[in-house]
């Protein structure tokens, strides 16, 4: 019985640890996708500026409040505009950005197909 109790306690400690680590991973994921606005070319995760540190604290706070990744991105988008996100969303302003590579790939494929394969 004692052994069972001990096992149970260890199990709880480990699972709690995992839960916390999981939150930390999500926080890192989010801050890697946020652009630091005061330091160019760095993500919030990489930066140690005042602004970035505040954002890290706020992301952690929002995660503890139970907000999802999507909600947190929306929060920052509303405050600072879409520029703060590294990964832009698909909307009418970014259709070209997302679809042009696919289009170029298809056209290139068609040229290759026409000139090298179909010719034979």
């Amino acid at each position: 019985m004692k052994l069972l109790k001990l096992f149970f306690i260890i199990f709880i400690i480990f699972s709690l640890n995992h839960l916390k680590a999981n939150n930390e991973n999500i926080k890192n994921d989010i801050t890697k996708n946020l652009r630091c606005l005061t330091c160019q070319g760095q993500s919030v995760y990489d930066s140690d500026s005042e602004f970035a540190n505040s954002i890290k604290i706020l992301v952690k706070k929002k995660l503890n409040e139970g907000l999802s990744k999507k909600q947190i991105y929306k929060f920052f988008k509303d405050k600072y505009g879409e520029w703060i996100l590294y990964e832009t969303e698909l909307n009418k302003n970014t259709y070209i950005l997302w679809l042009l590579p696919i289009l170029i790939f298809l056209i290139g494929g068609a040229i290759v197909f026409k000139n090298f394969i179909f010719k034979k």
């Binding site: 954002i55 706070k61 509303d78 405050k79 505009g81």
Partner: protein
């Protein structure tokens, strides 16, 4: 004919890309956040500087009049520059000013106010800099003009005589 056309096309494409990149060289790559105005005052609980009491942010801007929210800090040099202008606004009762003390030590902030005067009706104490983010700010100083709980104007950087004139004309 076909060859000529393709060489013209290629030259045109090169010139186009060159001009595009050359122009891009001169563009600034420092980003300032979109000045999102006509947003409502963000809702959250804040700590007050003087009493340490927790209040709702919306309570500070509840009355149907103009408010100025000024983000400041004792370590911020431009804040020192604009402080006399804020003193002028509050002394002549032109507009009510709420301060947001950004990432500061209480002792330093207090001695800053003792030295230069206190133009603020209330001061929000933002030790971690997270309330400033709720406002969409990214540095100090920043000033927001608020009317009926809506942000109608946002000024990034220190205020100057011209901006004070603009604020006065907006309030009228």
């Amino acid at each position: 004919m076909k060859n000529k056309l393709s060489s013209i096309l290629i030259t045109f494409a090169f010139v186009f890309v060159f001009v595009l990149f050359y122009k891009g060289l001169k563009n600034t790559n420092i980003y300032t956040p979109e000045k999102k105005i006509n947003n409502v005052v963000p809702l959250f609980t804040v700590d007050l500087f003087s009493t340490g009491k927790k209040v709702n942010s919306i309570e500070l801007f509840s009355a149907e009049k103009f408010y100025l929210l000024n983000i400041w800090s004792s370590w911020c040099v431009p804040c020192r520059q604009e402080h006399p202008l804020l003193m002028y606004l509050s002394k002549n009762k032109i507009v009510e000013i709420i301060g947001l003390n950004y990432k500061d030590k209480k002792i330093n902030a207090q001695s800053f106010l003792d030295e230069l005067g206190n133009p603020y009706k209330n001061i929000i104490f933002d030790k971690e800099g997270i309330y400033a983010i709720e406002w969409g700010a990214y540095g100090v100083p920043e000033t927001y003009l608020i009317h009926n709980g809506v942000i109608i104007k946002k000024y990034i950087g220190p205020l100057n005589e011209e901006l004070i004139k603009e604020i006065k004309s907006l309030i009228k």
